[in-house]
């Protein structure tokens, strides 16, 4: 279980979200919504441990989160298999067959990743989550560029992950067809800090 309490986060020194609390239990998914620029990406990066929160606490995230960003970390000169195998070995998790099957990557397995189309690349990026073996998936707009079939594959993969007791945190603007709680971030938008907070930390 991942729980976040009274979290404030900042991007480039500017607070974007504050007073955020929520928790995601095992086998549950949480969908993050909110207009562009509200701070979804920033929140996911914080939970993945890439940046420290301004205030508040995050529990149960340490070493348990697999993060999928806008950029997929795909090496264009390596083949699809090689890319996946690399991440599987780094995370010390099992084989890549399940991942290849889940996103129908078998026919592309031997191709250099650089020669994939936008949606095919994205599928490879998502397949990576399966080889990490981590219980919490934090995903930033995972369905960008995906066609209908691929979105369905994705929903199916998430459902299977939840079925195995995993959980997922997904920022998206579209409807995924996954049974999940939805958290709208708009109410947590950080108020412009009071001017007198100059005391200690400049903001």
């Amino acid at each position: 279980m991942l729980s976040v309490s009274d979290l404030s986060i900042a991007r480039a020194g500017l607070p974007v979200l504050q007073g955020l609390s929520f928790s995601v239990k095992d086998a549950e998914a949480l969908i993050l919504r909110g207009p562009n620029g509200i701070g979804k990406t920033t929140l996911l990066r914080t939970i993945a441990g890439l940046q420290p929160p301004l205030e508040g606490r995050i529990e149960g995230a340490e070493e348990r989160v697999a993060y999928a960003a806008h950029a997929d970390g795909i090496k264009p000169t390596l083949s699809v298999t090689e890319n996946l195998t690399f991440w599987a070995r780094i995370f010390g998790a099992g084989g890549i067959d399940g991942a290849l099957a889940a996103y129908d990557l078998r026919p592309l397995a031997g191709r250099a990743a650089g020669s994939l189309s936008a949606g095919q690349k994205r599928r490879l990026g998502l397949a990576r989550m399966l080889v990490t073996g981590r219980p919490i998936w934090a995903m930033d707009e995972p369905t960008v560029s995906l066609d209908k079939t691929a979105v369905a594959m994705f929903a199916e993969a998430v459902r299977a992950h939840l079925g195995r007791g995993g959980s997922a945190l997904i920022a998206t603007h579209i409807d995924l067809g996954i049974d999940a709680q939805v958290l709208d971030l708009s109410p947590f938008k950080a108020a412009p800090g009071s001017m007198d907070a100059f005391e200690g930390a400049f903001a």
């Binding site: 993945a48 441990g49 960003a69 806008h70 997929d72 970390g73 090496k75 000169t77 690399f86 780094i90």
Partner: protein, 218 residues
């Protein structure tokens, strides 16, 4: 860790011969110098050890900006940072693969290029020894510089600027070994210093690199 090393080497080979290219640059720097200073053999043989060291250093330097930048651009670095892998270890592996791809070929090629600059006889051995001892330090220091500047657009030149002063001690002692060797003098002191620098740098700098990279990623 091995996975990372193998991947980096595979990438270097795939990318149209990472091995060949660092070397080629070294070759070309050594070739350019005579075009600049003129073909007088006596003059060339005097400056040979120094120029070869400077050339090796520049060849290392040039390949640094891609050491982490590519991984940063495509998001791999973020993902690696969240992987169950100490960042220090990861950066040491990166430095190692940089050395294998760049430093090692330079060490092997340096004697051949010595011919072009008329390097005197006994110089060949000591040039090779000094490069073999010194280039690992260059890779490790370079990794630190790359970690410092990763994510900055046009980080390439800034990187050079930051790294070059750090390279100076290695260069001084390395070139001193090669020069004394070429003139048949005693090389013990600078050789010890060079070995000391390399050992110290390899043992300690990865911690600094990891700290700096962590800051850069957030």
């Amino acid at each position: 860790m091995t996975a990372l090393l193998m991947r980096d080497l595979a990438l270097a080979i795939r990318a149209g011969g990472g091995f060949g290219l660092g070397l080629a640059f070294f070759l070309i720097v050594t070739v350019l110098v005579p075009f600049g200073v003129g073909p007088d053999p006596a003059l060339l043989s005097r400056i040979a050890p120094g120029i070869l060291w400077v050339g090796a250093l520049l060849a290392c330097l040039l390949s640094l900006d891609r050491l982490l930048a590519l991984d940063w651009e495509d998001g791999s670095l973020d993902l690696l940072a969240t992987a169950p892998l100490p960042l220090e270890g990861m950066l040491s592996v990166k430095a190692l693969s940089h050395w294998i791809v760049t430093g090692l070929p330079l060490v092997l090629a340096a004697p051949v290029l010595g011919v072009l600059l008329n390097l005197p006889g006994p110089g060949y051995l000591w040039l090779t020894v000094s490069l073999a001892l010194g280039t690992p330090a260059l890779s490790v220091i370079g990794t630190f510089g790359a970690a410092l500047t990763v994510g900055l657009k046009r980080g390439g030149l800034l990187l050079s600027l930051l790294v070059l002063p750090l390279y100076v001690p290695t260069l001084i002692f390395g070139a001193e070994v090669a020069r004394r060797g070429a003139e048949g003098l005693d090389v013990a002191t600078p050789l010890l210093m060079l070995a000391g620098i390399s050992a110290g740098v390899i043992a300690l700098l990865p911690f600094a690199s990891a700290a700096v990279l962590r800051v850069n990623l957030r």
